[in-house]
């Protein structure tokens, strides 16, 4: 398997916050190119929205990530990016520390699992 460098993945993990704020797909792509050259482009699917927050009523839905596709040397690679804690409401997700089961049966953080499940339909 061809592996991309950890420098690229950590850089994307940092830039997902800024890139998920773009006002249009055109701006987002130009901004992406200004940062990474032509090695990446956005997948057809739009931004991934996730519901974060606590119990119903104080949940908010916001851009939580997106999918990038590699081009040129990076063709064949897909990058699924998720942002982390950016809004105060995200802390309600973080504090939801009960364990939950994934579909595959593994024990995971319930807060992230709920946020992930809310955007899963867009990923598949």
């Amino acid at each position: 398997m061809a592996r991309v460098s950890p420098q690229l993945t950590s850089s994307l993990a940092k830039d997902v916050y800024a890139l998920s704020q773009s006002s249009s797909i055109k701006d987002a792509l130009s901004t992406l190119n200004a940062r990474y050259g032509k090695i990446l482009t956005f997948a057809d699917s739009n931004l991934l929205n996730a519901r974060t927050g606590g119990p119903a009523g104080i949940k908010i839905s916001s851009a939580f990530g997106f999918v990038l596709l590699g081009q040129g040397d990076f063709k064949g690679h897909a990058f699924i990016l998720f942002r982390g804690t950016q809004l105060l409401a995200d802390w309600l997700t973080n504090f939801n520390i009960a364990p939950a089961r994934t579909d595959a049966g593994y024990l995971v953080h319930d807060g992230f699992n709920k946020a992930f499940n809310s955007m899963k339909p867009k990923l598949s």
């Binding site: 061809a2 800024a18 901004t31 105060l88 520390i97």
Partner: protein, 189 residues
């Protein structure tokens, strides 16, 4: 059998609860927990540095252009100004005290936008995402003095201090270089 499972999940729940309570106690007793090193959380944060500039249309400064600035950081902060007879304008710096971030650290992500209104048309003169809380991070510490040209067909897209800015403006700043990464490597797996 059922009872056993319930007991087990209760035990793991109390395990997580203990971790949670311990971390809250740590955070509450040590206010300096997040205020040193690379992850320092500053309380006073600059959301938009003070900006002075000139607005041109087809190379000529234009008076009476209404500029509306919107800053978004969990909520919208909106103010506006008008260019003078020489096309000049000024926006003061906007700060915020982030006390919550001291205990609950968060990424600094602030949306910046300036829309120019002229002759019934709207121009997206500035749209950026500020990722550094320091004042003048948009211009690497220098005063932010911009020259904007509403007649530009395409916005200029640059990154400064890990913050992307798409604008119709130029100012004295060296943008972040385009990042380059090695080709993906076969690891034989």
């Amino acid at each position: 059998m059922k009872l056993k499972i319930a007991k087990k999940s209760f035990r793991s729940f109390s395990f997580y609860l203990t971790i949670f309570l311990v971390s809250v106690a740590v955070l509450a007793t040590s206010s300096t927990f997040f205020s040193s090193g690379a992850n320092a959380v500053s309380i006073k944060q600059c959301l938009f540095s003070s900006m002075t500039g000139v607005v041109n249309l087809d190379g000529k400064p234009v008076a009476n252009i209404r500029l509306v600035r919107t800053i978004n950081y969990n909520k919208d902060i909106v103010d506006e100004t008008v260019t003078d007879e020489n096309g000049k304008f000024e926006f003061p710096a906007v700060f915020r005290n982030n006390y919550a971030g001291k205990i609950l650290p968060m990424e600094f992500v602030v949306n910046q936008a300036i829309i120019a209104h002229h002759n019934g048309k709207e121009y997206e003169m500035w749209s950026g995402v500020k990722r550094k809380p320091e004042e003048n991070s948009e211009s690497r510490g220098k005063a932010l003095q911009v020259t904007c040209e509403l007649g530009l067909e395409d916005k200029l897209h640059i990154w400064v201090n890990d913050s992307p800015i798409s604008s119709l403006c130029t100012w004295d700043v060296e943008p972040d270089p385009v990042l380059t990464f090695g080709k993906p490597e076969e690891d034989g797996l």
